[in-house]
């Protein structure tokens, strides 16, 4: 049973560039949430996707956008990269019918994004 997979594992970009990160949820899950984790901090919620729509969004600017595909996989796009966007980006999946807050979230190992 495949867990949550994320790609790429590491990425180096320069300021002003754009980046796309990818996530495949755990088999059977239909909801994907994205988190940003700065070094030494806890994960911060970016947004959540269900039925190919953004269902909720955290306190992140419009430079952060996403997409969910019919197979439930998801992408996170960040435009006009800033030095402060350097972080570990985590994807978590869950099952909507159980309620995302009432069940364990299954996390991938993340994408380490470094901005030069």
């Amino acid at each position: 049973d495949a867990g949550v997979t994320q790609s790429p594992t590491h990425l180096i970009k320069t300021r002003g560039q754009q980046v796309t990160l990818r996530c495949s949820p755990k088999s059977g899950h239909d909801t994907v949430s994205w988190y940003q984790q700065a070094l030494g901090q806890g994960p911060q919620f970016i947004f959540q996707y269900y039925e190919e729509e953004e269902r909720q969004r955290g306190n992140f600017p419009d430079r952060f956008s996403g997409h969910q595909f019919p197979n439930y996989s998801s992408e996170l796009n960040v435009n006009a990269l800033l030095l402060g966007d350097s972080a570990l980006y985590l994807c978590a999946s869950s099952l909507a019918s159980t309620g995302p807050l009432n069940q364990p979230q299954h996390f991938g190992d993340g994408t380490r994004l470094s901005i030069l």
């Binding site: 806890g42 959540q48 985590l90 995302p100 009432n102 979230q105 993340g110």
Partner: protein, 113 residues
């Protein structure tokens, strides 16, 4: 902003000792979860405790929840070097319509062999 705050920020113990981490939060919750994160890896779920529960056990882990004090504790008994990791509490607040977990800043546990 962080909802939960873990205490201590860092903890170093010897193998075989017990480790206790605390988490405080600010608003009412539906449940509270604890996660472990090994260096450079994703988060692994440990325990979920609901707001109407006071204590929960899983193997060497014991979690308590005191909703009147808005706090929780995670106890790891007979620690092992493999328990070295960061531990995070995360809260769910469905009454606010929020569908995502709010994480604290974590406790970094070092277990010396």
């Amino acid at each position: 902003s962080q909802q939960g705050e873990e205490d201590p920020q860092a903890l170093s113990i010897q193998e075989g000792e017990n480790a206790t981490m605390n988490c405080s939060y600010k608003t009412s919750i539906n449940n509270l979860q604890w996660y472990r994160q090994n260096s450079g890896r994703g988060l692994v779920h440990l325990i979920l405790i609901r707001s109407n529960e006071r204590e929960k056990h899983s193997g060497r882990l014991r979690v308590t929840l005191d909703t009147s004090k808005k706090s929780s504790s995670l106890l790891i008994t007979a620690s092992r070097a493999a328990d070295t990791a960061s531990y995070f509490c995360a809260t769910g607040h469905s009454d606010t319509g929020r569908r995502a977990l709010t994480f604290g800043s974590g406790t970094r546990l070092q277990v010396q062999p």
